[in-house]
Amino acid sequence: MRKRYLAMAAVLAALAVAVLGACGGDEKASPNTLVAKKSSPASLAADDAAWNKATATIIKTSVIEGSKAKAAVDVSAKALYSGSDIWFRFEWADATETAARVWTFDGAAWKSGGSEDRLALYWEINPIDKFQTRGCAVLCHNPDTDTIDKWYMITPGVDDRADNWHWKAARTNPIGQVDDKFLTGTLTDPKDIESANKGDAKDAGGYADNKAADGKGPAKMQDPAKQPGAGKGNLLVAEAVALDVSKLKAGDTVPRELLAAWTGSRGDIEAKGVWANGKWTVVFHRKLDTGHEDDVKLVTGKSYPFGLSVFDSAGAVDHTISEDVYLLKFD
């Protein structure tokens, strides 16, 4: 009598082991997967305790051959999510903090200069051919016959849409946001190779050029009576007054852009970036589903391919890119 049950128990145990062994194999996340953990941070602080629960994924980016990007950069990425929101934490090495796009005064005239560090991500809004295996490489129009200065970003299909999250150290970080844009399939202005990349719809806000009518200097400056609300070196639209050269001396700088936070779809993503000890640490926060058609809708349970690029004090094509595609998954 006992032998029968023993035999059955042995069989069941063996099968259980087999099935468990089989299941275990599938669950190992590949190195290109960013697994978001279900936990909400209390704030956008990079050292919030909730981040300790998330597993970091190293996103390897490399220099585009022919570009002026300085060196390959690895970005350590983490993600957390709740029933309605998602947070990302990115950390990467950068020897210098560049967050000043300024007009410099030499006592008589102005010179435009400065740059900023940036981080950008691309997601599919609708399924884009080959994006899930090649990432943002499919969004780059770079035929062998064109030199690098003619390359531009555009989706392969005219009706495709890709969601662009573009964090800028000088132009969006001071007002606590990421520039939320989207990529389309046509150059609306054939002469402007950046015209396929559009800003999301906005109600109000955004940065504006700080340029005098003759284009040779700034039009506005910080109101001396007010402390800069977005920190030293950042000029908010609300705190800008007409330029008064008498208050300035040689060596002084005035930002080239006037900043204002976006409201509406363009301002969907809030961010806080801090540079310290040779490292940028930036936290993004967005609703999983913004309800806007120009954004990627994130649903827990699905996987989302994405690509990432790092700009070290540069713009245009001079950025590193993640050569492999990465996948966002939810635990």
Partner: protein, 349 residues
């Protein structure tokens, strides 16, 4: 109520047949042992799969262009889609486990011997049908996992000597995987296999009833065993087990959503194809047969496996049924089981 039943019985005359079906005497040793309920559970699971499958067919688009989007829609957008698909996904794996347990129980009890050889043969056919359900269903989402597993599976068919190319082409509906592959796998999964399952099960159950369950292995005396009526006594236990299984499946669907990989990409070289867990042992086995020995793993071994199963009642004809008195069959079971388990674990790494 009684008037309605009397009216129905008068028209259909089914009281007699139903009564004999329901009052069937279940031997005590079967009534007390849950391992004897595997068969009924399999019938219930099949019904569950039929219902969830039919529901999904309201939305599924069997074309390479539309399949993925429709399954994504079912899983993530449709109300309770995650539940219907989740039950279908987990019940499928459970069916494979139960069919193996049922086979093993019958095997170890020697219940395939005279006069039950035919029941066993239909059972082997049913085993093949259940595994085929798994194989054909896996392709339907047209995701990376399903696409590549089918690419490999049809190539395995292609390695059969003489008929290989023909077999592979007919399975694929062409030289390469394409539209005709998906539609024929869908038709087989939805229509051909369910029909086969119903017919084979009906024969299997009818034969089981006619030949009655094999007597208990150990009997205390020579008196005939106690029995309980199928309905309501034995069915009560099976209903409770079925309820537990259904609740378990709902829990599984909720906690472990049915997976959906990325869209199938035939030109991708980064995806690492793996079959579903119940084929992992075979996937591992294939690695050991290089080059010319390929046909050994793709033809000889499966033939040997199913052949030995089918021929079992004719190879083991003796009257002895107790496993501890049958070293060859018991030993064979240990070897097969150990091999499959070890290969599965190795294949999962």
């Amino acid at each position: 109520m009684k008037t309605v039943l009397t009216w129905l019985n008068d028209r259909a005359g089914w009281n007699g047949p139903i009564r004999s079906l329901m009052k069937y005497p279940v031997p005590a040793h079967a009534h007390h042992n849950p391992m004897f309920s595997m068969g009924s559970l399999l019938v219930i699971l099949f019904l569950l799969q039929a219902v969830t499958g039919m529901l999904m067919a309201f939305y599924y688009d069997p074309s390479p262009e539309g399949a993925y989007g429709s399954v994504d829609y079912i899983q993530f957008t449709l109300k309770y889609g995650w539940l219907v698909r989740g039950i279908h996904h987990w019940a499928a794996s459970l069916m494979i486990i139960l069919v193996v347990l049922h086979l093993l129980r019958t095997y170890l009890y020697g219940a395939y011997k005279r006069p039950r050889e035919l029941t066993w043969l239909f059972g082997v056919g049913l085993f093949f049908v259940v595994v085929s359900f798994g194989f054909t269903g896996y392709l339907l989402p047209w995701d990376q996992k399903g696409y590549w597993a089918t690419q490999v599976g049809t190539e395995i068919a292609g390695s059969v000597p003489l008929m290989g190319d023909w077999l592979r082409s007919v399975m694929r509906g062409g030289e390469e995987m394409g539209i005709a592959t998906l539609t024929r796998f869908y038709a087989t999964h939805m229509l051909v296999l369910p029909a086969a399952f119903v017919m084979l099960s009906a024969a299997h159950i009818a034969l089981m009833r006619r030949n009655k369950l094999a007597p208990a292995l150990i009997r205390k005396s020579d008196e005939p065993e106690n029995t309980v009526p199928f309905y309501p006594t034995h069915l009560a236990i099976e209903a409770v087990i079925a309820l537990a299984v259904v609740l378990g499946l709902i829990f599984a669907a909720n906690q472990f959503p049915a997976p959906l990989d990325l869209r199938a990409d035939p030109s991708d070289s980064t995806f690492v194809p793996r079959p579903d867990w119940y084929f992992l042992f075979y996937f591992q086995l294939l690695k050991y047969f290089p080059g010319d020995l390929e046909a050994v793993a793709t033809v000889l071994i499966p033939l040997f496996f199913f052949g030995s199963l089918a021929l079992l009642p004719f190879l083991d004809k003796g009257a002895e049924r107790r496993p501890w008195r049958k070293p060859i069959t018991s030993g064979a079971f240990v070897v097969y089981a150990a091999a499959v388990i070890i290969l599965t674990i190795l294949g999962a790494r």
